[in-house]
Symmetry: C2
Subunit: 609 residues, 2 copies
């Protein structure tokens, strides 16, 4: 088992040197913190990851939850980890002091997520709890907050996101779970805003288990008589056990109908739940009626940073396992020394093809992490800034989110595949962790909106909202990076290359936008997934140039030696790798995106498939 | 569970319309056959696949072999399948009548492999037996043939390929298993050519199990005093049970030291074997001493067609499952009708993004199958032709093999990933077969020579052998296809596109070959894997143009209707998809391949990774 599953050095470089996380402490909201408190939190997460999570990577995978007599039993270690996370204040890391949190920036709490997911992504429970609690603190009544949030943040209760239904996956507007208002004098109501809930939810991660005392579902449902479509969906808190008039916890008629057996992330039960089998499920409205989907969408950026981080974490763990193996595994001789039969075999890291695979993994995982911290920084700035700055950071964040969710997921799948390939036949066996990571990461391009959905969001909404202001802001940001990079002779060619890519992006948009203007959305979005791929390469190239600038400055000013010298040179080298191997992929993508030939839209004459 | 796992219609189209398999029956060797006998064999394979294999897809995956008290128990269905395959003559399909086979072309026997692997690739036993038996019939003494081949072809015994050792995977020259000659009067020798074998082998598929009475290993070992490297490796038959002087079967001291637990293809045990723990393993030399590796390489093309077929079969099964799901699963509305909330949801096949994913799967799987039948046809022609024609078909086959092994494997992995994505969250669960197929196919870019090894073979040997005659022959073949396609107005743009790709290939080679001429092989091959990817796209584009020509001719001459019309139009449409979506990828690859910047070769100053 690989003992290194992420690089602390790289995390520090990105957090403090590239993204200057400590500058956030200038703002009132974060003023209780400094770099030291940030690092204490990260160390605390690392300790939990090292001791309570990573050692159980395989065990949790091997003992997937089963539904028996209506109960779901999970690995006992889950309970230990939840307790430790609660006690260390890590579930509430990003919550305000007022709500019992640590009032830490998303930059830090998302790094906590990165560390623990790199250690053992099969223990993906606390992110769900944080997300659910955050919905309650953001939109719920003080009553709801008091009743639920403390137990969620302490890890005593589990939170879930209960959106998907059998007929409503990507199409959330088709949610049909019903909510019937209870009158305030109904003894069961408990308090105002109580509804009877009836329906089914599927794929509810951590939707039932025995590691917490209660499970709190943040559930989408439709109040009787509500408008059709997305505008008639409301958000409810639906607990597994609710308090009765006497203040005792009683069963809330949420039945575990089934547990999915999944290819990976086996530690977390994905549940099929049925509400109201005995007509006795009560849900409590969060915020206003019919605002459920808009509330969910307001939390979506945070959730999607979480998924991107999970993907990046899994791919990072696989990269470090592959790297270690490549340094240790002798096989064959260097190609220019093929006939030296007496020579000992060389470590495979010395073969160009293996180095290429490793550089690809490094480029993808560290590029993804950089992009996600960029997004987290914007998230934080949006929280603490005002006026135009607030609006602009929000636009930038909103634009980057589909990429920050999809690039790490899609490229992470490929990266772990290359990790596995680095191991050769051994990678396919349970002797090493990569086969599991290969299975685990494959869900990330699906949940929290598939890649196809992200692509429609990017091209269909984000590129055009406010008259295309978001891409204008992004291009301005990228241009700043280009300007700085241009001042260093050896970075200038890459700055120029990025300028070319910005022009290419503009050309692609110029060719596509007329379809949108003509109202032919289907045509406009028909290759949206390829546009997302294209745009992802450009954005991550920008991230690598940013990192290279900081590394270059460190080389020039700090005269680093040994490991530090190698670290900074490795950064510049990997930036070059990205520009020489990944960026050229935009050529083919742009050709397709500008291509007028339509091959995927169904016409009258149905295509045989 | 999907009931359709391959398209019989497509197989017939490729076999008879595109590759004219029945023309082979003009040659003496195949003259006992006609299209009817070919189809009888395929029907017989389909019957076995339908009844004895496909229904056990999940069951075989769920019950992976375990090693207990030195014995490996496999699913009881394996025995039934082996028996049926032996009785139907399918294990010996490609063997001569003289050796008890059906004397069928490789085109047909590889299609048998395609059908059965599409049904259940976890029952991958008979291909190994055929390959092992073929080594014996090709290079072994009449004595060896008589002793082993009949029981192998009947399915009573299992054959294996025992090459890999812990320190010798990709680097077979490092094999250290030893063979010490026994004198003919040693009572154990049995007959001349007997050796004591000592060593270890790893990853031996079907290397031990209880579904056959004996296991026959075709094993590489080094005779005492043999030259170092590849020139000192010999091939032996090493049975699990050998005949003693009295003609009784006795244990041959081949110990099952371990069984690997794999991510996929779980039905087939991958064994770690130890020979000579009690100094009592006897092996029988096949052919001449020190020729073992060259014998293996002579069988390699057949084995690699087998792996390509396995990958294609798995991806085909996943494609048909995804296609069926996409036709049945309603979700959301067409993008231009987003606001029609009263409209029922549309089947997801009507969404352009889903169609794109399906077209990708169709393009990859049917393109791969076409390429593999092209290779099988060359294999057959090489067997039955003479002189220059024989030599040329061999050169062409040898050139195409690394592509015909790697393209289906590498792109098949991506294709199954898109099948899984088509299912959304359901694809990640065991409710559908795709999650298993996603795990199963991932081994194919590794075994029988990893993609990296195939790439070195292609660029390092095949492109340059005989002064580059092989690519010349291939380009001439492709040019013929281009000429024919150019005569049809609607195919001409694609013919022109392929001409451009041939020029681009030439440019890439012109830029790379000087490194080889300077003897800098490491530099020449440093991006060989990208060249393989590039070349694969060009070759499969050629295959699609070939198919489109035949489809076009059918449309013009047969006036097809209904399903037949749709089939041919689907072929032309998918060809267009390939040229519009896949071929542009060569642009970026060519940029990288011609790029002088070296980033993957280790220099004095070691790069930090």
């Amino acid at each position: 088992m690989a003992t290194t599953y992420f690089s602390k050095r790289n995390l520090q470089f990105l957090l403090y040197d590239v993204f200057k996380a400590d500058e956030l402490t200038k703002y009132d909201y974060f003023s209780a913190h400094d770099r030291e408190t940030f690092n204490l939190v990260l160390d605390s997460a690392t300790y939990i990851a090292d001791t309570l999570m990573h050692p159980y990577l395989k065990e949790v995978d091997k003992n997937q939850p089963e539904l028996k007599d209506g109960k779901v039993r999970v690995h006992p270690q889950i309970k230990e980890y939840l307790k430790a996370m609660g006690e260390a204040g890590l579930i509430g890391a990003g919550f305000s002091f007022e709500h019992g949190g640590q009032q830490l920036p998303e930059m830090i709490s998302s790094c906590v997520g990165f560390i623990i997911m790199a250690a053992n992504n099969g223990m993906m429970y606390t992110g769900l709890t944080s997300g659910s609690a955050h919905l309650i603190t953001s939109f719920g009544s003080p009553e709801l907050i008091e009743a639920y949030v403390p137990n969620l943040l302490s890890g005593t209760w589990q939170g879930t996101m209960a959106l998907t239904e059998p007929q409503a996956g990507s199409s959330l507007s088709d949610v049909i779970t019903t909510a019937t208002p209870l009158s305030v004098d109904d003894s069961k109501a408990g308090h105002a805003g109580a509804y009877k809930i009836k329906g089914q939810k599927v794929f509810i991660s951590a939707g039932d288990h025995d590691a917490t005392e209660n499970i709190i579902h943040l559930m989408l449902a439709r109040i009787d008589g509500a408008p059709k479509g997305t505008k008639g969906i409301s958000l409810f808190v639906v607990p597994k056990y609710r308090k009765d008039e006497q203040g005792n916890f009683v069963d809330n008629d949420v039945t575990s109908t089934g547990v999915y057996h999944k290819m990976g992330q086996k530690g977390v039960p994905a549940m099929h739940l049925t509400m109201g089998s005995n007509d006795d499920t009560i849900g409590y409205l969060v915020g206003q009626p019919n605002q459920g989907l808009s509330y969910m969408f307001q939390m979506m950026n945070e959730a999607r940073i979480g998924v991107g981080m999970t993907a990046t974490a899994i791919a990072t763990a696989a990269y470090h396992a592959a790297l270690q193996y490549a340094k240790e595994r002798p096989q064959s001789r260097r190609l220019n020394e093929k006939n030296h039969l007496d020579a000992p075999q060389t470590a495979i890291i010395n073969h160009p093809d293996v180095r290429r695979m490793l550089l690809f993994q490094k480029a993808v995982t560290e590029g993804s992490l950089s992009l996600l911290l960029e997004a987290a920084r914007l998230y934080d700035l949006h929280e603490v800034t005002e006026g135009e700055e607030k609006e602009n950071t929000f636009l930038l964040l909103d634009l980057l989110m589909p990429v920050a969710k999809s690039y790490p997921s899609e490229m992470g799948v490929q990266s772990v595949s290359q990790s596995l390939q680095t191991f050769g036949g051994y990678g396919y066996t349970e002797d090493f962790p990569v086969e599991q990571l290969y299975r685990d990461i494959r869900i990330t391009p699906i949940y929290e909106g598939t890649t196809g959905i992200q692509a429609q969001d990017l091209l269909g909404r984000k590129m055009t909202m406010k008259g295309g202001k978001a891409p204008q802001l992004l291009f301005a940001e990228i241009s700043k990076t280009i300007s700085t990079a241009s001042t260093y002779d050896d970075l200038k060619p890459y700055a120029d290359s990025l300028t070319t890519e910005l022009k290419r992006t503009q050309e692609v948009l110029t060719s596509l936008l007329p379809y949108a203007q003509q109202g032919n959305i289907e045509r406009y979005l028909s290759d949206a997934t390829l546009f997302l791929e294209f745009f992802g390469i450009v954005v991550v190239a920008w991230q690598w140039l940013k990192q290279a600038i900081v590394a270059k400055q460190a080389l020039l000013t700090q005269n680093p030696e040994g490991d530090e010298l190698a670290f900074y040179e490795g950064k510049i080298h990997t930036m070059k790798y990205f520009f020489h191997y990944e960026v050229p992929k935009t050529l083919g993508l742009a050709v397709r995106l500008k291509d007028p030939e339509v091959l995927t839209i169904v016409t009258e004459k149905e295509l045989a498939l």
